[in-house]
């Protein structure tokens, strides 16, 4: 009984200490930061198409994503992307730049544990599940299409 009371008090204490995210400003910030990142991607894509007219739309997209990934990885390295992340929340996580950040960030943070067990292992703490779920679900889709194509 005593324990229960103490746990409740502790839960109240934790609840009071958790930093409150104010819903409306954070929604607004994630909206415009996410929008700006997407506009940047479109801009890079259009510039690439303009500079290299022989590029197919698909390859242009691949280059665009690689450039965005590079920028995000670099910004993570110099510590800027985490600041954007604090400010924009979902706006910095959902774009492909957030995927890049989720790979670079832990590898830098756990660098001190060595190249193999630090960088290479921790690299996939967030990206691992993303790739696993992506591959498995796309294989399910591909398999269903294969079954359909048999008939």
């Amino acid at each position: 009984m005593e324990d229960k009371k103490r746990n409740e008090a502790y839960n109240r204490y934790v609840k009071a200490k958790i930093p409150k995210t104010h819903a409306w400003p954070s929604l607004f910030n994630s909206f415009w930061v996410g929008g700006v990142i997407c506009v940047m991607g479109q801009g890079i894509n259009d510039l690439l198409m303009l500079a290299f007219p022989s590029l197919s739309q698909q390859s242009a997209w691949a280059y665009t994503l690689i450039i965005l990934i590079f920028i995000a990885s670099f910004l993570t390295g110099i510590g800027v992307y985490d600041q954007i992340g604090k400010f924009a929340g979902g706006g910095s996580i959902v774009p492909i730049t957030g995927f890049s950040n989720s790979i670079t960030s832990p590898s830098i943070e756990f660098k001190s544990e060595g190249i193999i067990y630090g960088i290479c292992v921790k690299m996939f703490t967030i990206a691992g599940p993303v790739i696993v779920f992506g591959v498995v679900s796309s294989m399910v889709v591909g398999f269903i299409y294969w079954i359909i194509s048999l008939f």
């Binding site: 479109q42 894509n45 997209w61 590898s107 679900s137």
Partner: protein, 122 residues
Amino acid sequence: MEIFLSYLWVFLIGGLVCMLGELLIITTNITSARILVTFVLIGVFLEAIDVFDYISDFAKAGINVPIIGFGASLAKGAISAVKTHGLLGVFTGGLTATAGGIAAAIFFAFIFALIFKSHTKK
């Protein structure tokens, strides 16, 4: 004017998708790994029911830059590889289509992890 409008669409759709992610974070307190997984699954689903290309036609980067686009190209790769290689395509298609992004993310992360030091979180 036409270019301005198309960029406006990119901004609005991209912003909305990201705001949806933020809304998920606020309402359910889920971690960023789950956000990314959720949006990849949405992308795979949209491509599987053949809706993604219609959205992509007017939203362009607004839907391709969010991780939804990553999921969609996984599924698109798997589907188109099945058409050319049959059953083998189920295994090779998805990762082939997204190899550029994954390889770039791993490569740059490795290089920058070697170069930069950790910024202690304040």
